[in-house]
Amino acid sequence: MMRTRVGSLIAVAAIVVAAWSGSATPTPAAPSAAPSAAPSAAASAAPSAAAASPASTATEGGNMVYALNGDMVLADPALVSDGNSLLVAEQVVENLVGLQPGTISTVIPVLAASLPTVSADGLTYTFPLRTGIKFHDGTDFNADAVVYNYNRWQNFPKGDLQDNAYYYGAVFGGFGSASNVASVTAPDEQTVVITLKTPQSNFLLASTLAVFGIQSPAALKAGNADTTPISSNKYAQGQLPQGQDMVGTGPFIFKEWVPGDHVTIVKNPNYWDTPNAAHLDQVTFKPIGDSTATLQALQSGGVDAAFSISPLDVKTAQSSGLSIIDRGSSCNQLNLDMNQSVGGKATIYANKNVRLAISEAVNKQSYADAFYAGLGTVPTGFMPPATLGFKAETLPAFDSTKAKADLAASGVTGSALNIDLYYPSNVVRPYMPDPKGIAQAIAGDLQAVGFTVTLKTEDWHGGYVSDATNGKLALYLFGWTCDWAGADNFLYTAWFGYQGGKPNPQFGWANAQANTDMTQALQAPTADAANTLWGQVQDLLAQDLPVVPLVNSQPPGALTSKVHGYVGASNGTEYLNSVWLSQ
């Protein structure tokens, strides 16, 4: 008993000492955010994943324990939209096209033998397929399998299958006849032709999402996965016997899922792309929902890698000998949203000079320095620079004097300058590691130029998201992590696309020209045409400043010194076939 108590006292003292010493550790250099030079699609027919370290130096075998910040939700990749489920799926199921490992927008062929040929009108994509590939259940991958999967997604019945297949609906505009897919055909065993109803400039990039992974038709049929509601869909729930769930063609095979405890994938010994076969025998994904517990699990060696750690723990992790995953170019953005119309009434943010004053009042660099452990950068536009279609804009620089002058020019005075600033509680987002701290810093900056700021908070799931998206908040923190690194994903899907013919109530930003440009950009037949239109939209945003872009960041993850060959990407699309463990 006494020993236990003494141990506790020592522990508490040790934590205090560790925290103190951690605070004295020099800040690591921020990884450079490479400028966007990525073409929309790579011409090479490279296989799905390239190892960071030469395969000859890699040690084969081993079981890597990989901490996730939560459990998988479903085992059918077509029905998920959460990062944990997608990360598992990326190892098991492959798409026609994927992303070059370590990039967020370089498209490469995977199950397709090369990138598709696209008709001049931008409507028809013809994919030649690789030959000799088998699904994990031993059945053949071929054009019929691709057609089966595309038809399956398009014909998900109304109800929870459609509700969960968010990405199909979002990318193709709906299901059934509402889908932008006109037809998917197989003129021969090794060719698939996808015909769209209208050109869709994001088609190829969005096709890299793991939700569009090709699964074995035989397994899907055997598991009654195509039409069975999720509550009785054993395939989706991952409750079928081993080898019958999540049957793809990837370098790992889905082995086991114990809800809340672990997901296990094992090496595919018959992987078609031999040079890029997995080095590891097994990966066990372990959900650890608490950030301190994750750090301790890494430090104790209980886990080998963690997909995410708190930015607040980065220094401690580095001083413990852990390495931070280099995730390259950011694929997220935190904004300070200024809603111009709440409850049908114009707010003070409808006044351009107020928005300009706020944009000049906030010291973004100080937020990036203080809250992101060297992994945050100040935005140079309205989405991360590596996003396809990005255009750098001249955004207002931090200048309190100018902010005061612009606020005076706005004509807004007296009690109208008493404003509420909302931040979410009980949540940490990749782009928002410390919502309260960031909000306090912003409030300080705004007070300095003449506003009187009252900080307010709501629980993230307990009202914040719904109040923000329903247009009930006027000034608040909000952000976005890319689904795919295209301009449409940030500018149209996430933020400024009109809803039901009206401005998104989240912003109350009425700009019909921008909406028209975005709609046309989505339907542009070529990447160049789309990028021109996206550039125009970003110019309009820079003129009107409906939001203040605050920070682009790399979400930190960590590896023990045993882990090698890990290729990070800030959109979370990370392939583990290149990873190996030293003894």
């Binding site: 008993m1 006494m2 236990t4 141990g7 506790s8 020592i10 522990a11 508490v12 040790a14 934590i15 079981n63 324990v65 939700v73 479903l74 939209s81 959460d82 109800g159 929870d160 509700d163 969960n164 968010y166 979002a170 999720i230 509550s231 009785s232 869909n233 729930q237 409750q239 114990v258 809340g260 405890d261 672990h262 296990t264 097994q282 066990t284 372990k286 959900p287 650890i288 929902g289 608490d290 301190t292 517990a293 301790q296 699990a297 104790s300 209980g302 709501e458 629980d459 799931h461 307990g462 009202g463 914040y464 998201v465 719904s466 998206t469 329903n470 976005w480 996430a494 809803q499 109530p505």
Partner: protein, 334 residues
């Protein structure tokens, strides 16, 4: 006795019914976009949230939803999660064994240490040993579980590398989940994996068992001192019985009654999920499940789980009351 048990069971029915009504209403008063928002995450637009809410039937009048829920419940159907679609009963069978193991571990720690300490303190009332035990028990009650949990994990896991800091068994061992009791599964797997499972149980058990340990120590001390002052104890000593015999036969047998009651109540409470301990040690039990379900507004899971917890608690209480009668033959229920 039979009549007593039947009466207690009948009383439990309105208690559970009332609880179900309050829970049902309370959960739906929580602000936010409901389970649809959790499913959609950052993609939760008002239109999609409304669409999914309608598809889940959550836009219907509350009484309709409640009647449907109770109807299913009476047929033994606890419903399915709005988020992952899994039946509550199925997931419960996967996660409850973890909570049972943790409860047993914590109770072994708390009872095994708390009662001897209480007896030790009672033997030297108001002396320095009693003082030390009092300080220890006050410390045990005062320190937050999560602070103790992190501290234990830091010292014994991170610094000393003596004990694991998370989970029920090392994932690298690939122990097949047969019963979902990690220790039993480890025994079935062989290779002395059970040692690893036991090692995983130590720190969470200490963290979870510290408060009960403090309670048991105080109750045992007070009860033993009370009984020690009874006339029959003095008589036993006057008859020339050895101190050990007086302790075993006359003091402890009687002092056990309040201690056993508290042990029963604490066991019932721990079985309802040790939220913080399970979170700190990534323990796959029902406590952490309740937390994630509340965050996701997964109404069906939360209300079904709390009803199950209430049933467990009432059952354990009943067992304690029955056990009380066996421990003290002077007590008879009618």
């Amino acid at each position: 006795m039979a009549r007593f048990i039947v009466r207690r069971l009948l009383v439990a029915i309105p208690v559970l019914f009332g609880l179900s009504v309050i829970l049902f209403m309370f959960l739906r008063l929580l602000p936010g976009g409901g389970p649809a928002e959790a499913i959609l995450g950052q993609h939760a637009t008002p239109q999609l949230v409304a669409q999914i809410t309608a598809a889940q039937g959550l836009d219907r009048p509350l009484y309709v939803q409640y009647v449907e829920y109770i109807g299913r419940l009476l047929h033994g159907d606890f419903g399915a999660s709005f988020v992952d679609g899994r039946q509550v009963a199925t997931t419960f069978l996967v996660r409850f064994p973890g909570t049972v193991e943790l409860t047993i571990g914590a109770m072994i720690f708390a009872v095994g240490l708390g009662i001897p300490l209480g007896r030790l303190a009672a033997r030297h009332p108001n002396g320095w040993i009693d003082g030390i035990v009092t300080v220890i028990s006050l410390f045990g009650i005062s320190i937050p579980v999560f602070v103790l949990g992190y501290a234990l994990a830091f010292v014994f896991g991170v610094e000393l590398h003596w004990l694991p800091t998370f989970g029920q068994i090392d994932p690298r061992l690939n122990v097949p989940p047969v019963t979902h009791f990690a220790i039993i599964d480890a025994v079935l797997a062989g290779h002395w994996y059970v040692i690893d499972a036991l090692a995983h149980l130590i720190l969470p058990s200490i963290a979870l068992g510290t408060i009960p340990l403090a309670v048991f120590t105080r109750i045992t001390r007070a009860s033993v001192i009370d009984v020690s002052n009874e006339d029959y104890v003095r008589t036993a000593r006057a008859k020339g019985l050895t101190e050990g015999r007086v302790n075993d036969r006359h003091i402890m047998r009687n002092a056990w009654l309040p201690v056993a009651t508290v042990i029963g109540l604490e066991t019932g409470a721990l079985l309802a999920g040790a939220v913080l301990t399970e979170t700190v040690f990534s323990w796959n039990g029902v406590g952490s499940w309740v937390v994630s379900s509340i965050q996701n507004h997964d109404y069906i899971v939360v209300q079904s789980l709390i009803l199950i917890f209430a049933t467990i608690f009432l059952t354990v209480n009943l067992i304690v009351d029955i056990g009380y009668a066996f421990l003290n033959p002077r007590i008879r229920y009618s």
